[in-house]
Amino acid sequence: MKIKTVKPPMSANGNASSLAGVVVRRTVKRAKVRAPRFVAKLWQLRLYVTDSTPKSLTAFSNLKKLCESQLKGCYRITVIDLLKQPQLAKGDQILAVPTVVRKLPKPVRTIIGNLSDIERVLVGLDLRAAD
């Protein structure tokens, strides 16, 4: 499965008018970034959405905020609109929308929902140990 990587056509604050097909790649110079110690390499995240529903938009902005704070400079979010690419739902076993799938680093992690509960997202992404 191939996903086109496109330059982000939107502003950094995440106020995207449409998320479809958007790939946000943020690679800033490493020297300037104080990366979390357990983050070794580039994080690949996929966000599955349907069109620009409020849930999808909230999920994207929440995810982006979180990545900026925790993984600044070493993450890549691929947004997939299932209405446009329904065949991609099968590969990552998507049922719920929105869904975030952490493809890298392994193992694969899945978080469903609009990511409003930051704590659970952090646990789900292994960024914080579950209590």
Partner: protein, 585 residues
């Protein structure tokens, strides 16, 4: 059938139906599942939900040209393909030809973290995409309830499921949703509250250590349906529901007759044997020779060049061949010529429905003219009476439809054979031969009656049934004042009669001799008397002569003296003449 169902004459009055193609199910539901609506198939573990759903899909794609989507929550595409291959379905081929799409949905709860609101739009999109991809008319969701274990938020899930079923209806696809049976409700998670058009309940019950599957249509909105529990089986060619109630009595009948292989028995059956295509029951206690009659019948059929299928539930084929050899029946060459085929199985090997399916398959492949089931009572152990009767009914119906003559043997356990449970079964039979043991004089003897033979004049006589090294023979039993005599008693009685006749003959001869003797004695007496009489008569004559002579002498003397006295000369002259004559004679 499909046309009739899918294009009803007036849609307002008749619910359009979607034929499943599953043997028997369409008859029960009078046409199939409700078209364009979801149907719930629920049942416990291992009762065949997935197979039923898969068959619905495969038959749809193959027979009715209705592509289908199988959304599997439990099994992967590979597993499913392998599983349905056991029913002879080429799922992989159908997938290649774009007749079926299998989408395996798997959600591992431990890998999923929930955070905030979500919906199941992903599922809808996947399903929608699959439906659009091949233009599916049928959808199977197997087993949707797995989602309850995968997704933590039940409230969202329930709302989404409600939406899903509505969405499926809008899509116009005929859907089958499988669900686990719950403890108190039909399904574990109450799916029946969302799917209310048609609910089918599957059940797998163990009765006397033998499992039988049952199917029941619990609910079918807007349609008549069979409400009974129907046994069904999963055979090598798919599911087969056995709707006993749908049997029709409209098969062709033949007036042709076939010989039984026992000459005297033919004679008892109007001289020509059984009707072709009839069903024959042979009952008897053990050791009365049921299998022997059946084997004779088989041999006779094979000699006519007909094929015979022999289902044996007690003996192995080799055992039967050996045993029949001892009475002069050679079955082995017939087996070699493939005219006779044995099928042996222990009754408890599998359930009744499986037996029936196996028999159907064997009959369908071998296409026999005669089918022998020895004994049908063994199968009764594999199910309840009503089930067995249902099975036999179905079997007979199937055989009669194909003009196959069927012979069933039935073992009765002591007592009077007529009073036993197969009397229920006997009503299905066209001819009934009863074998019985007669005990007496320290021996057991076999007798045979023709209890009934529909449509032919048959003997009402009892016959003694002899089994010798040369086969079967029927002889007239001795019926006399002291009742029916068989075996050595019959022989003894025969001897007794012979002796009696001989004695009478001897007596008559004796009497004859006696009479003869008497007659001879009489004759002798008569001759004695005669000789006596003759002697006496002689004596009498002699005496008379003496008297005459004396008189003459006396006269002469008197004349002489008269003469001497000169009393009468004339008279004296006459007397002289007379004396002279008498002297001469």
């Amino acid at each position: 059938m499909k046309k009739k169902v899918s294009k009803p004459t007036s849609p307002a009055t008749r619910l359009p139906k979607c034929p499943t193609g599953i043997q028997g199910l369409d008859e029960i539901t009078s046409g199939g599942l409700p078209r364009g609506r979801p149907t719930l198939v629920c049942g416990g573990a291992g009762c065949g939900k997935t197979l039923l759903a898969a068959e619905f899909l495969v038959r749809g794609a193959v027979q009715f040209d209705e592509p289908g989507v199988l959304m599997a929550f439990e099994e992967t595409e590979k597993e499913l393909t392998a599983n349905v291959a056991s029913l002879g379905f080429d799922l992989a081929g159908l997938i290649r030809r774009k007749k079926i799409v299998v989408d395996y949905v798997h959600v591992e709860r431990s890998e999923v973290q929930e955070s905030g609101e979500y919906d199941l739009e992903g599922l809808f999109i996947r399903l929608g995409h699959a439906i659009d991809f091949i233009g599916a008319k049928r959808v199977v969701l197997d087993t949707l309830e797995v989602l309850f274990a995968s997704l933590p938020n039940e409230a969202i899930l329930r709302a989404e499921l409600r939406r899903l079923f509505r969405w499926l209806k809008e899509k116009g696809v005929t859907a089958v949703i499988t669900a686990e049976r719950g403890r108190e409700s039909l399904t574990r998670h109450g799916l029946e509250e969302y799917v209310s058009d048609c609910v089918i309940l599957l059940d797998h019950r163990v009765n006397d250590q033998i499992a039988t599957r049952h199917l029941r249509v619990v609910k079918y909105r807007g349609s008549l349906h069979g409400t009974n529990e129907f046994p069904f089986l999963i055979a090598e060619d798919g599911i087969s529901v056995l709707p006993i109630t749908s049997l029709a009595l409209n098969h062709k009948v033949s007036a042709g007759r076939i010989a039984t292989g026992i000459h005297r028995l033919d004679a008892m059956l109007g001289g020509r044997g059984f009707f072709r295509g009839s069903s024959i029951l042979i009952t008897g206690t053990s050791g009365t020779g049921k299998t022997i009659i059946a084997s004779n019948f088989a041999q006779a059929a094979c000699r006519r060049g007909e094929r015979v299928l022999f289902f044996s539930f007690e003996e192995s084929p080799n055992q039967i061949i050996r045993n029949m050899h001892s009475i002069g029946l050679r079955l082995e060459p017939l087996v070699k010529k493939d005219l006779l085929r044995f099928h042996s199985a222990r009754p408890s090997l599998y359930g009744l429905e499986m037996h029936l399916a196996t028999m159907f398959r064997e009959i369908a492949t071998f296409k026999p003219h005669v089918v022998i089931i020895d004994p049908i009572t063994s199968l009764m152990d594999a199910g309840t009476d009503s089930e067995t009767k249902g099975m036999v009914t179905r079997l007979i119906d199937y055989l009669k439809a194909g003009q196959v003559t069927s012979l069933f043997t039935s073992l009765t356990l002591g007592g009077h054979a007529l009073a036993q449970s197969e009397s229920a079964m006997s009503s299905l039979m066209d001819a009934w031969i009863l074998l019985q043991d007669f005990e007496g004089n320290g021996e057991r003897n076999r007798v045979l009656y023709v209890l009934k033979a529909r449509g032919m004049a048959h003997s009402n006589q009892i016959r003694e049934f002899l089994i010798s090294d040369w086969g079967i023979d029927l002889v007239d039993a001795y019926i006399g004042v002291s009742g029916v005599l068989t075996g050595s008693a019959r022989v003894a009685q025969g001897a007794l009669e012979k002796a009696a006749v001989l004695a009478t003959q001897q007596e008559a001869a004796q009497l004859k001799r006696e009479v003869e003797r008497k007659r001879k004695a009489l004759d002798r007496q008569i001759s004695d008397l005669r000789s006596d009489y003759e002697g006496e008569a002689l004596e009498l004559r002699r005496i008379a002569e003496q008297v005459g002579t004396r008189t003459l002498v006396l006269g002469t003397e008197r004349a002489a003296s008269g003469l001497l006295r000169q009393a009468d000369t004339k008279l004296a002259a006459i007397t002289r003449n007379t004396h002279r004559n008498g002297k001469v004679s």
